[in-house]
Amino acid sequence: MQSDHLISFEHVTKTFITWDGETHAVEDICFTVKEGEFVTLLGPSGCGKSTLLSILAGLIKPTNGEVFIRNEKVTGTSKHIGYMLQQDYLLGWRTIKENIFLGLEIQGQKTEQNQKRALKLLAEMGLLSYKDHYPSQLSGGMRQRVALVRTLATNPDILLLDEPFSALDYQTKLKLEDLVVDTLRRKKKTAILVTHDISEAIAMSDRIFILSPNPGRIRTVIEIPDVIRTPLPFASREVPEFQSYFQMVWKELNYS
């Protein structure tokens, strides 16, 4: 079936089977994401948010159902996708420069042009002067910015953000939210964020999917109005409507 959606999940179910038995991680998940959209999967831990990202990234196969990117079925990892993990996971034995080239190396695209592009991204993050430093010499916020550059260096269209701010202190986190949203908007990337932080979800996204746990299901979809989603995340929190949306999401999450 053809559609103009960039990403579509169709009745995706994932069950993990081990010696101890089986765990229903997610069940009958259906949703679509348009090009350039910023979507958040919000829910308590254990509702299969990260599982959905791993399925979309082609790292694990769904037990049932199918996932499509640009009407092509996901069967393995794809160059369309960039994945940001909860921590920066920079390689301690490589310099910053070598770290941001990691994806290019693996995909066999370490051309002069791509290297220049990656260094330009590093400059946009204000970290060019650190290119020959080692990760241990950088602060947590700087390291996560390097991780963002590493993800963007392979030029993916879709970014999967798996709680990328959860390991940072509050101030750094707020600054990075603005930086990420600004960067992704300018580069017209599509993003799926996974988080359990309500205000982060409202401040950053265009739409929020609220998941309920055991097994993970989509309970509601909340559209964020333009007044909140147009400004950058920090400014969004100042908008009067923000509080009512916070209450709405809070109620949905606690509804049982």
Partner: protein, 277 residues
């Protein structure tokens, strides 16, 4: 007033009078440690010499520092000592390198195949528990006396533990690093070369240090059993002709060579790991 230059030397590189005091204290402390070490050495050698001269200990069994030194010099001039040293050091280096390389290679193979790792697990445990020295007689028959059998002994003693330790560190690599490169589409070979191997590098280097010691044990035991050359052979020969001075000469040379080798490995470790946190 006369002590002024000494005071200046002790506080060299100071930023402030307090920093100078601190530097002086630390330097005097290091000096005291060095002097104490030297005193213990001199005292020990002196006591040994005196005890031997006045027959407090049996000089035939325990020899004496002066006789050990004399024998060492005589053998050095006679020109047959260096070939024993060279033989043993050479065997140790070869055994040490082969044991480490082969042990790591087996660890890589086991990491590659989950099935193989399950299959081989009990065999590794048994092999590790078995005293490898007991294989000596087998090596004599299989490889004949000399070089090959001695090296086989050195390898046998270090290879299993290397495999177990290195494989253990392969397994302990944070799975999130592997996930990271998988999201870029990395194949198993790339996961290994970009993540698993470099992440385990410090462990591999630290097994080098352990293996230097093990290789010495393997080579000396190997020479005990089979060789006509080398420091281990000198020890056994000295024992057989009841020349314990010769045994002590060999022991001291082994101690010195083993220390030098250990420090070389430590230096290499520093060079290779200097950029890691």
């Amino acid at each position: 007033m006369k002590l002024q230059p000494l005071e200046e030397w002790l506080t060299r590189g100071k930023f402030s009078p307090e920093h100078g005091k601190y530097l002086k204290k630390e330097r005097l402390y290091s000096f005291l440690v060095g002097v104490s070490q030297l005193v213990i050495l001199i005292f020990f050698i002196g006591l040994w010499e005196v005890a031997s001269t006045y027959k407090w200990i049996d000089p035939l069994l325990f020899s004496s520092p002066s006789r050990i030194w004399e024998t060492f010099i005589t053998m050095l001039w006679a020109g047959d000592l260096h070939q024993h040293i060279i033989a043993t050091v050479w065997e140790t280096v070869v055994g040490f390198l082969l044991g480490t390389i082969l042990g790591t290679a087996i660890a890589i193979v086991i990491w590659w195949s989950k099935f193989l790792s399950r299959v081989l697990d009990p065999y590794l445990v048994v092999l590790n528990g078995m005293p490898k020295v007991a294989l000596g007689p087998l090596f004599i028959v299989a490889f004949g006396g000399g070089f090959t059998a001695t090296i086989a002994m050195a390898i046998a003693i270090s290879i299993v533990i290397t495999t177990i330790v290195v494989y253990g560190s392969f397994k302990e690599v944070d799975p999130n690093f592997i996930k990271l490169v998988q999201t870029f589409g990395a194949k198993k070979k790339q996961i290994f070369s970009k993540i698993v191997l470099p992440a385990s590098f410090p462990t591999i280097i630290s097994t080098l240090k352990v293996n230097v010691g093990l290789a010495w044990v393997g080579v000396i035991v190997g020479e005990f059993l089979v060789s006509k050359l080398g420091l281990g052979y000198l020890i056994i020969y000295g024992f057989q002709v009841f020349n314990f001075t010769l045994v002590f000469v060999s022991l001291f040379i082994i101690a010195i060579c083993a220390t030098i080798m250990y420090h070389l490995v430590q230096y290499v470790e520093k060079l290779l790991l200097k950029n890691r946190k």
